[in-house]
Symmetry: C2
């Protein structure tokens, strides 16, 4: 990849998902917070897996899903994330590369196994995630290839990186290099529980302009500003970030800057199957538009299109070429 | 399971599938026979995997898929098949048990790894399979729990068992015990290339009444009788088996006995996604009906219903409770 430029580089937790159907009773019995992401240790992962249903194994990870979505839109994309050199880690690397993404973060030779997320999907299509971070705990600043960051027009970071101890250093290092090279930096707040854990840090990242573009869903936004009132949260968000993008499930999305507000309806779907990856793929579509200089409303439309695709089947990676979907919807991306 | 009776016991190759999308050009370039199942060795599996797209990992195996489908209909079902005590093998065991199937075949402690099938799905929904048999080669007569066979009203065997050397002995042993106990024995011809490999053996199994019920698709049936004419093949089939079931894709299915012929249309679908498991799930529905004393046309309707479900998503295991699907379609099974 000598000298190759990338339109978007993602930095995130590299995770393999095990997706199973579950009844609401099962979540209640296991004490799981429906719709959230809980961190679990290896022994809990093993006991929960033993009790859950037949599982489909697919590569996942929030930022990784977004980056794969970008590649599916035909955008030049790269990813940094840590897996171990085990069966799951090799599958993660195979899948992301086979999706057209540049990925060359060195595998961990020892230490904890590749991260696993046990995803339980209830009959209403909502997903509840249980993540064993494993090898992600070994992601650190040394994994941030400065040259790769410099050569990537947009750096995309996930809030979940605040969980593994050394990953936030990798995050800050990458953001610093990106800005020093005149590139843009985007952040997703990831999850409302994650926002609860790192509220002050996330606000600080926004207010110090360590990040320029922030993705949040409505729950994360309310959690960020500790308010039940969406409009109050949105007003504060507008002040705190250069470009803010808020997803609101079936209500569509909103894009705010200091001076502008755009509201875009959700793309229609036939049947909600599994919400896993909805936010990740929305970000993919939005960033694809941004990378190709679409106006903000079209960016949001592209986001809605990708999110609608991914929630109509199990798993957080697209099953069709998103570039084709965009063309069919009159949103073809320019080169 | 002391004393527990089962309605259907399956004996087959225990396989984990890696499912990826592929273009027709890829199949041509790799020299693959579209729609068929090819046996490959470990090094070919590894090199083909390296070149194929991002993969979804799901438990598979023809008879195993059928048995999981039966459990989804609420039928008491058990399975015998060989995996190694490795990551994939443990996943196979987890999934089949989590699906409600009784499974206690001992894991292979050493030898080749758990069998893997690389499934390539082309844009037309057709699947092309490449199977590394691995640990299935260690399935032998010792794995056939005689008591389990005696206590299972229908024994279901896959033609693919003729591939691993010791498995056919397990097949013959199980069929003998089943008949000695007054139970019925069913066989699926599996694949037209498999029929080409073992034509004389399969005809012999039918003509000696080692098997009573035979499932075939139209291609397998024509291969069996080496004719391009479906009616010629069907007439021969009627003479050779007690109960014959032929699936014909969108043309539906036919059920033949010496004196009867029933034709049942295919269940309507919205979109064909992946034909993997179509025949396996048809057999599940048919056997569910047979186990609950439905008439032959309703058996075929139940088969069509289950096949229609499985071809509308990736993977060969049902994503909804087939018992509910049967009820909604006015085909609720009696207890």
């Amino acid at each position: 990849m000598a000298g190759q430029r990338f339109e978007v580089l993602g930095l995130g937790n590299a995770i393999v998902d095990a997706i199973a159907q579950a009844e609401d009773d099962f979540l209640a019995h296991e004490g799981l917070n429906k719709g959230g992401m809980a961190l679990i240790d290896e022994s809990r992962a093993s006991s929960l897996y033993a009790r859950m249903g037949a599982a489909t194994i697919m590569s996942g990870g929030s930022a990784a899903n977004t980056i794969v979505g970008l590649a599916s839109f035909g955008v030049q994309a790269a990813f940094i994330g840590k897996v171990k050199d085990d069966e799951a880690g090799r599958a993660f690397a195979h899948d992301i590369r086979a999706s057209g993404v540049h990925f060359d973060t060195p595998f961990a030779a020892d230490g904890p196994s590749t991260a696993q997320c046990l995803v339980l999907v209830t009959p209403d299509g909502e997903r509840t995630m249980n993540t064993y971070l494993g090898a992600c705990q070994n992601l650190g600043p040394a994994d941030v290839d400065a040259e790769l960051v410099r050569r990537s027009s947009i750096l995309y970071l996930e809030g979940y990186l605040w969980d593994p101890p050394a990953a936030k250093e990798a995050f800050v290092k990458a953001a610093g290099i990106a800005h020093a090279s005149g590139n843009r930096v985007a952040l997703t707040l990831s999850d409302s529980f994650c926002v609860d854990r790192y509220r002050d840090e996330f606000l600080d990242l926004m207010r110090t302009r360590t990040v320029d573009i922030v993705f949040a869903n409505q729950h994360e936004l309310k959690a960020l500003y500790q308010t039940a009132d969406f409009d109050t949260a949105l007003a504060a968000f507008r002040n705190d970030t250069v470009l803010g993008v808020v997803t609101r499930s079936e209500l569509g999305s909103m894009v705010v800057t200091r001076d502008e507000t755009h509201s875009v309806p959700a793309s229609p779907i036939e049947k909600l199957v599994d919400t896993t990856g909805a936010g990740d793929l929305f970000a993919a579509g939005f960033l694809a538009g941004l990378a190709r200089d679409c106006d903000l409303k079209d960016c949001a439309r592209l986001g809605g299109l990708a999110a609608a695709e991914v929630i109509q089947h199990y798993g957080a990676r697209p099953q069709v070429r998103l570039a084709d979907l965009a063309s069919e919807s009159g949103l073809a991306l320019s080169r």
